[in-house]
Symmetry: C2
Subunit: 213 residues, 2 copies
Amino acid sequence: MARLPVYLRALNGLHEAGAGTCSSEELASAAGVNSAKLRKDLSHLGSYGTRGVGYDVEYLRYQISREIGLTQDWPVVIVGIGNLGHALANYSGFSSRGFRTVALLDADPAQQGTLVAGLKVRSFDELDAIVAEHRVAIGVIATPASAAQSVCDAMVGAGIRSILNFAPTVLSVPAGVDIRMVDLSSELQILAYHEQRKAAADATVPPGGVVPA
Amino acid sequence: MARLPVYLRALNGLHEAGAGTCSSEELASAAGVNSAKLRKDLSHLGSYGTRGVGYDVEYLRYQISREIGLTQDWPVVIVGIGNLGHALANYSGFSSRGFRTVALLDADPAQQGTLVAGLKVRSFDELDAIVAEHRVAIGVIATPASAAQSVCDAMVGAGIRSILNFAPTVLSVPAGVDIRMVDLSSELQILAYHEQRKAAADATVPPGGVVPA
DNA sequence: CTCGGTTTGTTCCCACGTTCACAAACTCCT
DNA sequence: AGGAGTTTGTGAACGTGGGAACAAACCGAG
């Protein structure tokens, strides 16, 4: 489920707050979801709660981590070291959660050799060797849209089966390869869409609630 | 609908490829969705297609842009000029689609005054004045998680009603305010989850398809 | 030991979104 | 003009996910 990471973060928050146990109601509100939904999600992993008591924070934290696969180490390569690639390479949220950036690649020779987040940017041609050496399973694409599909194909060819794509293009991959897309400008466009509808609603029904003649 | 931006990008691609008209099938495959779904989505905006012919690329492009609200100009403020804030400020995908970054804010005095993407980083205290002056409706939060809720509250207080949140925390907002969350590490965790399941499947059924004894 | 209060796990139901399938409508060719 | 071919728009079935409600199970007090 896509909500497990949210639950895990909420649990970490409760843990830091000193909670040894928590009810589904508490955890649900911390995660911003319905308590019934949370219980149903957790029950898919197994019966880790105690009726009349709740969930043991520490135990549930471990179980979710294990379910997601955070108890093991995930080597990651980032391709495309522009503004976004820089930010991703430096993002502490990755390394602190079991993800280890093993290489930064860029096709531009001018970028190669520069030091970013303690790693030297290497040539995109080294992808195959790096993936084989570190058993990389996850690749991140932070290139311009024009290069994304060819980078994606190369990743798949090298054996990568999970790709996080920040380039604003739909990528086609063979079956068995997972893609998740993060499209920054789409997010803003969706907000603008809702904002426009809110503005239109305001125009017909102003703050006082009276419809203008 | 959250798919309109995807359709719009696919249309732009077809436009650059020189297509004057396109069928729902073509557009759907370019956008990576089912053609029936695409037709139903578009029919919600109005009857912009011609039976037996398809959709006029240019006309449909304009209609979707208008529906999303991209024909108008959306001023945006970005709060938190760390690695991610830098990348967002420099991201060309925003400015090229009707979004105009009018201010970069940071609570850290050391950041204030530095030039990022041609804009001087200003103090977070100026939020109210900037929002009022530029009629800002959209805010972007790129701060650490610990500061996100207070920044969010300040944005709402200043009149912002649409927020794009990159901080790894669930934010609570009053009704009428829209939040979209982009959680980078969650995306990786979801990939890891699927990757782990794929690895487990491989272990039971190796490439040859034979179950080990 | 028993009883009341509490919380999980689960079942049922509803609503939404997706997909199939087809009628309506348009173009082109003869 | 008429028919064949094509493509949109939509009505109906389908499946999936969410929410409310309830039974089972646990704790603590007396």
